[in-house]
């Protein structure tokens, strides 16, 4: 009985060892890379909180630039809606349209009155100086760049983008759900605002 238990324990230990080898290998490799970066003077490569701090700064900048309603929309829903100001599509014949801005996803044009999706505009803001080996801006900076470019020069931004039919990169069900969430969010915000005003009066 004892021998059987010992044999089982040995087998379990051996199997666990086999399973955990890749994990130890990855840890050792990460340690080697970190050590090499420190020796090369790349202290920044050793900072695990950098991306989070960058995102926090980017959020503050975004908050200081966009309207209060847009900031709350981003904080609560993770997207910002911007109304279109150009006549980019003659088919629209003056019907109001808007864009949904997500971080690091295509800009989506749609008709708020009907919820019909129009196009996806795939656009990026790659920083080729790659300060930390990446061209990717923090999420909130990406949103702010899209917001400023749409507000400041919609045509220029849209002409820089690759246009696709909706659903190419962003799931249409997700978009329809977000449009619904946005509508509900606006109604609730309006009700809250109404209650506050009537309470103050």
């Amino acid at each position: 009985m004892t021998v059987a238990l010992i044999a089982t324990a040995i087998v379990i230990v051996a199997l666990l060892f086999e399973v955990t080898i890749p994990w130890f290998d990855r840890r050792a490799e990460a340690r080697r890379v970190r050590k090499a970066a420190i020796e090369a003077g790349h202290i920044a490569a050793y900072d695990p909180g950098r991306e989070r701090r960058a995102e926090n700064r980017a959020r503050e900048l975004l908050k200081s630039c966009v309207n209060e309603e847009e900031w709350e929309m981003y904080r609560d829903l993770g997207l910002i809606r911007v109304w279109g100001g150009e006549s980019l599509d003659s088919e629209l014949r003056g019907v109001p349209y808007a864009y949904l801005i997500y971080p690091h996803k295509p800009i989506v044009a749609y008709l708020p009155q009907t919820g019909r999706l129009l196009n996806e505009y795939c656009v990026e803001f790659p920083d080729e100086s790659k300060p930390y080996g990446s061209t990717r801006l923090p999420d909130s900076d990406d949103v702010l760049a899209k917001w400023m470019a749409l507000k400041g020069d919609e045509r220029r931004l849209i002409s820089s983008a690759n246009m696709h039919l909706p659903g190419r990169q962003v799931d249409q069900k997700l978009l329809q759900r977000d449009i619904w969430r946005l509508g509900r969010w606006e109604r609730e915000r309006l009700e809250r605002s109404g209650r506050t005003q009537s309470g103050a009066a």
């Binding site: 801006l137 702010l144 400041g152």
Partner: protein
């Protein structure tokens, strides 16, 4: 007036600051503005309309920047994404 630049891993960085009404500062700001555009940046100014709405203006030359603008934000030029 502050020049801010969005950068991966940083958030925004203050890259220049000065009073455009002072000649020396203005020259420095003009040089920095040109340098950023040559590096492939776009420049935008957050503005507020008379009704209080916040908007943004894109500028291509320092001469287009209002003298009382508090911030000019530089960010990488847009490029078409996934094909």
């Amino acid at each position: 007036m502050k020049f801010l630049r969005m950068r991966p891993g940083y958030g925004e960085q203050l890259i220049a600051e000065g009073d455009p009404n002072l000649l020396e500062d203005e020259q420095r700001l003009v040089e920095e503005f040109r340098k950023q555009l040559e590096l492939g940046m776009w420049a935008a100014i957050p503005v507020q309309t008379e009704s209080g709405r916040r908007e943004a203006e894109m500028v291509r030359d320092f001469a287009e920047v209002p003298r009382d603008a508090g911030r000019v934000i530089f960010f990488p030029r847009a490029a078409g994404g996934a094909r």
